[in-house]
Symmetry: C2
Subunit: 374 residues, 2 copies
């Protein structure tokens, strides 16, 4: 998945060699694709889409730069939302990521020249578009996860040597803080999460600028393009009466782990996360079997009749059987007919350094990572 | 109490006109006086004394300046501890207030020329001595409360117009954060408390520098001298077989609210505070009666047989009957024979602006403030 090609040459959205622009027309596709890559989390993609639409309508489209197109002296700020998706659908974000961007610029004295998404999943895939549109900045076609993860430190940037501090965090009321220095990225998560809970369980952050070289070395590339392509493929399949899952796998190799009906969702908002368990009873070829998925904002581990079939950092995503619509954990509900899809993790996560931060043991599961075979 | 005179002329500790120095010999007196003014909180005064002793032994005595002796271009940083005193007696602070001082200097670009205590109660009375000794800075003979209060925003500085942000907060591990901007001082408390809980329920903070004029206008003056004088008086009474309470009231006008034996202490460490209730059964002239005191780090409200006899912002302090030794809420225990003393609040608190921030209603009690008559 990390080797996905850039948008095809001749794409009408390219505005210069290697560039394209995110317009209002791209947002539905990106929301679908980011819903799939979000593995259940990353914030509600539909609300993210609406917010990004408003920003682009008000301030204009946003230019997308591939990592290799960044000027060498670029100052790239990672922005993202933090909190519980269950809260995010009621307490919709405003310009918090813009406030966080300004706060980190003020703190570091460096002016951002491009923004990058913390994670390509859910609403976080489009979160940078909002401050980018407002500030007239480009976004990078890459992110820090290639999927979504629940915790701040779980970014390829930090795994591969980019400092996680200083970082700024801001809410919609006018409160902002800088996490200045921490003994580890996990401590940055602890402090940021505590602030987020006080801020109402929904906030945004901005990390001190990265260089172009750091982005090239540590980001998961081409993920905004991939999200758009995934969404394009799903929409095309719907329009043409094709199987949405075949369209998804044609764009991003993966496999169906299970098909069934959601029979139980146990969900609680705790410690600044949406945590819970999803139970699906099999249909068709899965009849008589049961899949149980545990989630912390994102789907973490899937068991079929008790046997583990997929774990983080591989992607576990539920889509509706009929339309291939991704269903995030905060909207999952009894009765939905879903297919559970699995996709191999980006190579940066499947490496030992990646697994130490976001493998099954990092989430407290006493099991080794077994890469999903597709 | 805010009108206490400066240390008497000719005091051997004066090193220049209007100046004195805090030496190791002053610390026992300050600890006793700050224990009384701390109204049960402010952090354990004995541990504060030991920490200040170590700092002065290592880096030398600390010069004390009256507010009017500050140069007009002074840059005065308020430093203090934050957290639950119940935790502070097990997790002893180190140089966190020094780290917080350096963090706020780094953030604001201003170099401190003097330090001031956030509150004259408990260990916070001497907290500034530690970074002051290490950094070679003077401390101001004043503080932001003239007593102790549990919450960050409860400072005369902020009540009378000094901004509470930016402020830095640091732990002993190497984590630090800046609370950059908040919509109110109460929000600064909320964010700082959340960080403190993560940092292990004990941390230190430093507020962006005040000017000399701001200190003169908003601080409660002469309180470090008052703490030392109170302690001197108690020690003198003990040595000479006099009544310690008479010595206390001779230095700081007040009255005995109750005398009795502690029969119950209900105490819990919750939300970054030590909260609870203290029950005292009367002895001697109070026999047959009962006093119940509710506390949140500090004693907040005292009821005698159900009738309120003293509330914040007036000072409610328990001292041992025999030695006049103040007993803080984290060390209060069954069986102690204590006198409960009341002192009128500093004038800055008894004013309407002060009561709005730290009167009984600010703590959720449905009662008006009735000034203690002495």
């Amino acid at each position: 998945m990390t080797q996905r090609p850039a948008a095809a040459a001749g794409d009408k959205r390219r505005v210069a060699s290697g560039l394209w622009q995110v317009t209002e027309n791209d947002l539905e596709s990106i929301a679908i694709g980011a819903g799939i890559l979000g593995t259940g989390g990353g914030g509600n993609p539909y609300i993210g889409q609406l917010r990004a639409r408003q920003a682009i309508r008000q301030w204009g489209p946003v230019t997308v730069l591939a990592p290799e197109e960044l000027p060498d002296d670029a100052s790239v700020v990672c922005v993202g939302g933090i909190g519980a998706p269950t809260v995010g659908i009621e307490k919709v974000r405003d310009l918090q990521s813009y406030y966080a961007l300004r706060a980190i610029e003020d703190y570091t004295g460096a002016t951002a020249t491009a923004l990058i998404s913390n994670e390509i999943g859910g609403s976080n895939s489009v979160e940078p578009l909002i401050p980018a549109a407002k500030a007239g900045l480009p976004v990078v076609d890459a992110d820090g996860m290639g999927r979504a993860f629940p915790e701040f430190q779980m970014k390829t940037f930090f795994v591969y040597g980019v400092p996680c501090c200083p970082m700024a965090i801001a809410d919609e009321k006018g409160n902002s803080a800088i996490i200045r220095e921490t003994v580890s990225p996990v401590w940055a998560e602890r402090l940021a999460r505590a602030l987020t809970v006080q801020m109402g369980c929904v906030a945004c952050y901005a990390v001190a600028p990265m260089t172009a070289e750091q982005v090239r070395q540590t980001a998961v590339p081409r993920t905004l393009s991939l999200a758009r392509e995934l969404g394009d493929a799903v929409i095309r399949a719907r329009n043409e009466g094709d199987d949405p899952r075949a369209a998804i796998f044609g764009t991003c190799p993966g496999k169906t782990l299970f098909c069934g009906k959601v029979v139980d969702v146990e969900r609680r908002t705790a410690a600044g996360f949406a945590r819970g368990t999803l139970t699906i009873d099999g249909l068709d070829s899965c009849a008589g079997e049961r899949m149980v998925i545990e989630f912390q904002n994102e789907n973490l581990i899937a068991r079929r009749d008790g046997a583990i079939v997929c774990t983080v950092p591989d992607l576990i995503c539920a889509v509706t059987i009929d339309r291939g619509e991704p269903v995030t954990t905060e909207l999952m509900r009894y009765g939905l007919r879903v297919a559970v899809l699995g996709f191999p993790a980006p190579a940066l996560w499947a490496a030992p350094q990646g697994l130490a931060v976001a493998g099954p043991r990092a989430f407290g599961y006493d099991t080794d990572y077994v890469p999903l075979a597709v």
